[in-house]
């Protein structure tokens, strides 16, 4: 069946590029002050979250993540990580940031340029999706799907997915996840980003109020970024286990093969 129209496919892949660059340049920006707070201003001695480094009892350097009162040793990953042959004191490791080295100025430039690309791409997707009916079809569960939500949960737990006629539409968990990502997480991400801007705070103070202050907006921006990473991980895993070539062909050419019921969409399966 022809599943993904050109606009959807283009928007999807542009989004992949934008989100990758936004995430990595965002980690670069976070590294400039690796601590989060709630409220309008920073309470430097009591951050809600901090990624730092110090020395253990033996004098060995270690990376530490502090969340409220609790600390976690994250040496090698967060706070202290390998970079160019040595251990560098940096919140997120060099391999995860753009640019790799500590460079806030360039990180910001990547972030803002691709924030614009992301917003424009997102608006095109939403306008097309609303106008063509694609969005409703993709994110709003049908009534019978809501009724059988337990069945869909079982299918996901056993990694067994619908075949035949039922595979022509997204399943209910899939729709609800896309609904939350497209209509909640991504817009909140943009708004929280804007709420951090002193210029936007002067132009539209209600936006910063909505998040409870600039530092709260920064924390929300960080938390939602984590949720988006979680979504992408689950998304990619499910693409891999539910027939990676068919899924990839679908999102590249638009054509998605529907296996007849019981044929076994995954090769090697016997009846």
């Amino acid at each position: 069946m022809f599943r993904h129209p050109l606009v959807i496919r283009l928007a999807h892949w542009i989004n992949v590029v934008c989100l990758a660059i936004l995430l990595m340049s965002g980690l670069q920006i976070f590294n400039a002050h690796p601590a989060l707070y709630w409220g309008a201003a920073s309470t430097f001695d009591s951050p809600a979250l901090a990624i730092t480094s110090d020395q253990d009892a033996k004098g060995e350097p270690r990376g530490i993540v502090t969340i409220g009162e609790r600390t976690f040793d994250t040496t090698g990953w967060l706070g202290l990580s390998p970079s160019e042959g040595t251990l560098a004191e940096r919140a997120f490791p060099a391999w995860s940031t753009l640019p790799a080295g500590q460079d806030l100025a360039t990180g910001r430039r990547w972030h803002f340029l691709f924030a614009w690309a992301f917003v424009i791409n997102g608006l095109v997707y939403l306008l097309y999706g609303l106008g063509s009916g694609q969005l409703r079809r993709r994110v709003i569960p049908d009534r019978d799907q809501i009724r059988d939500i337990g069945g869909s949960i079982r299918e996901h737990l056993t990694l067994h997915f619908p075949e035949g006629e039922e595979a022509k539409r997204y399943n209910v968990l899939q729709k609800l996840t896309y609904l939350v990502v497209v209509m909640v997480l991504l817009p909140v991400m943009v708004l929280a980003g804007l709420a951090m801007s002193p210029g936007m705070d002067a132009a539209l103070p209600v936006l910063t109020d909505l998040f409870g202050g600039r530092q709260s907006a920064r924390s929300v921006h960080f938390i939602v970024a984590n949720l988006l990473v979680l979504f992408v991980i689950v998304h990619v895993v499910l693409v891999l286990v539910s027939g990676v070539w068919n899924n990839m062909r679908g999102m590249i050419t638009g054509w998605f093969a529907i296996a007849p019921p019981g044929a076994g969409a995954r090769t090697g399966e016997t009846r």
């Binding site: 360039t106 803002f112 910063t208």
Partner: protein, 275 residues
């Protein structure tokens, strides 16, 4: 056809991996080229364009109640200039300090601190947003920049206001950063590069754009930019030049530093720091 498929798949997988690796490594190289730098600047251009559409001269930065003032306001950048001339001014309590205002003005002027304090003043409790991500709230009292510009009278070709500061950031030709050396000394290894910043006339005439001489009800301390610091409340911290000594009105930023309009701007940061 059959045997081709696995090959094609393996080829596609390898190709995708190569593209991803090249993209990640290529980003840094791209950012280093003239085209890359110009492309990356597009985001700033769009930010300036849109924020100028949204902001009117009357759009004020958020002001806070006294109770919101931060117990600890983080001093950042230079916090204790080592420049000999500046240290001499500190030693005598800025008694002989004169703020120079020149360039494209009808009447070049100079003001003592006492004269500045006698001019109309504005007090505002605002949030200072550092480009690094943190914020502190403080109360600032000072003279609106517009008061000074009106007294001097701008020439028609005036476009930007440049602030020249007392603190040495580094010595031209590979000196120490952060003014840790005896920076008043030219022999120490090069000409000192002192902090500089610039704003355009839209921001210069904004009511909250002031030259602050007091912070939280007390004389502005050295770590926060004594005797005078610019407050530009709708932009980030690095625009709020500390230790302001001289104000020059210019028609172009081309001749200032490396031409990007400020010390940090010449090192890659945005000239428009509204976000």
């Amino acid at each position: 056809m059959k045997p081709i498929v696995p090959h094609r798949r393996r080829f596609l997988t390898a190709a995708a991996g190569l593209v991803a690796a090249a993209a990640l490594g290529g980003c840094d190289r791209l950012a280093g080229t003239a085209f890359g730098r110009r492309a990356l600047k597009l985001g700033e251009d769009a930010n300036l364009f849109v924020q100028r559409l949204l902001l009117t001269p009357a759009s004020l930065a958020r002001e806070f109640p006294e109770s919101a003032i931060s117990a600890y306001f983080k001093p950042n950048g230079t916090i204790d200039p080592t420049d000999r001339d500046y240290k001499a001014l500190v030693a005598e309590g800025f008694g002989s300090f004169r703020l120079e205002l020149g360039g494209l003005v009808e009447r070049p002027l100079s003001f003592s601190l006492e004269q500045l304090r006698a001019l109309p003043a504005r007090t505002q409790i605002t949030r200072h947003d550092c480009v690094e991500g943190w914020s502190s709230i403080g109360k600032w009292t000072g003279v609106p920049l517009a008061e000074l510009l009106q007294r001097a009278g701008l020439k028609p070709e005036a476009r930007y206001i440049v602030f020249h500061c007392a603190d040495t950031m580094e010595l031209a030709g590979g000196g120490l950063e952060g003014g840790t050396s005896e920076a008043g000394d030219d022999e120490a290894g090069g000409t000192p590069i002192r902090y500089y910043e610039s704003i355009d006339l839209t921001d210069a005439y904004h009511p909250q754009t002031i030259l602050a001489y007091a912070m939280n009800g007390k004389t502005l301390p050295v770590e926060h930019g004594a005797p005078l610091r610019l407050r530009l409340e709708r932009q980030l911290g690095y625009k709020q030049a500390k230790y302001v000594m001289r104000i020059a009105v210019v028609d172009s930023l081309a001749g200032i530093g490396d031409g990007q309009g400020g010390y940090w701007e010449d090192r890659g940061y945005e000239w428009y720091a509204g976000i």
